[in-house]
């Protein structure tokens, strides 16, 4: 009994060794391919620092150093998670996204008014249709689907590839989505 157990321990140890060697090789291979986009790393750091400053509100040296440490840790995790490779572009948060948000807020206000009107006057004719999204990246597609759902009166029901199934409360709102203004705006943002 004892011997068998020992054998198992030995075996597992050997397997562990082989496994760990493979891991090392894997890590080296990953390090070679994992290249870092400096602009997006800088923008990501800026976002994290901004978020920390807004949420903390304390500016003693001790707490500032804690903040710097936690920001660095988050950047490290983002780097390990392949967020900083340049596919996702956090620098757009400082360049084009604020303007889009202002436009989206106005759009939300408009569609809120028309949806409210449709509810109070009991005058609606729901329709369901498909639209084609022209974004290349998954991030852009998610942004478009979320923007459609965020404006009241239109909901993205199903996503398959770059085709969305959209439910709209009135014919007017359906027309708005099918005209593709929002689609073009998000494609221009190049998220």
């Amino acid at each position: 009994m004892f011997n068998v157990n020992l054998g198992v321990v030995n075996m597992s140890h050997r397997i562990y060794l082989i496994f760990s060697e493979n891991k090392k090789m894997e890590k080296k291979a990953i390090k070679k391919t994992r290249n870092i986009n400096k602009l997006s790393a800088l923008a990501y750091t800026g976002l994290m620092v901004l978020l920390w400053v807004v949420l903390s509100g304390h500016f003693t040296p001790l707490l500032l150093s804690f903040g710097a440490l936690s920001c660095l840790f988050v950047i490290y995790m983002a780097w390990r998670g392949d967020v900083l490779m340049g596919d996702i572009k956090p620098e757009q948060f400082f360049l084009k996204v604020p303007f889009y948000w202002i436009w989206l807020a106005l759009e939300i206000l408009k569609s809120n008014i028309s949806t409210g009107k449709a509810i109070w006057t009991n005058n609606f004719e729901p329709e369901i249709f498909e639209v084609k999204a022209s974004q290349n990246s998954e991030n852009g597609l998610a942004n478009y689907a979320n923007s459609i759902t965020l404006t009241p009166g239109t909901v993205t029901v199903l996503i398959k590839g770059n085709i969305f199934l959209v439910h709209a409360l009135t014919a007017e709102m359906g027309k708005d989505v099918r005209s593709g203004v929002m689609d073009k705006k998000i494609t221009k943002m190049a998220l």
């Binding site: 949806t115 009241p152 199903l158």
Partner: protein, 114 residues
């Protein structure tokens, strides 16, 4: 100056409350799941937005206002996901919407029900 800000924030609160009532009425009045999500969307965007705008006017230009703005930002990021999740599951379990189906003009747009 103080009075003007107070009045503006009260107006914002009233608009937010009205949006809440509108959304609740919509949830009761609209015919099926998909349409009711739109009514919930009013509560998620207009009601929350205006009520927090009123709070921001009350707290003035300070860190509290920035935090309130962050609440709105994160809510605007997450609320469409919940709405989409409800719609997607309703579609998955075969609930047919009481809606007019509009076919795409070009046939390359594909067929989602297949």
């Amino acid at each position: 100056m103080n009075l003007i800000i107070d009045i503006a924030s009260y107006i914002c609160f009233f608009i937010g409350a009205f949006a809440l009532i509108t959304g609740s009425l919509g949830i009761l009045r609209l015919p099926d799941v998909y349409s009711r999500i739109h009514a919930a969307g009013i509560i998620d965007t207009a009601a929350v937005g205006f009520i927090i705008l009123g709070m921001m006017l009350q707290s003035g230009f300070s860190l509290t206002s920035a935090k309130l703005a962050l609440i709105v930002l994160f809510l605007f990021f997450t609320s469409p996901i919940s709405g989409h999740a409800v719609a997607m599951m309703a579609n998955k379990f075969g609930i047919k919407p009481e809606a007019k189906e509009i076919k795409p003009k070009n046939k390359n747009a594909g067929d989602l029900n297949g």
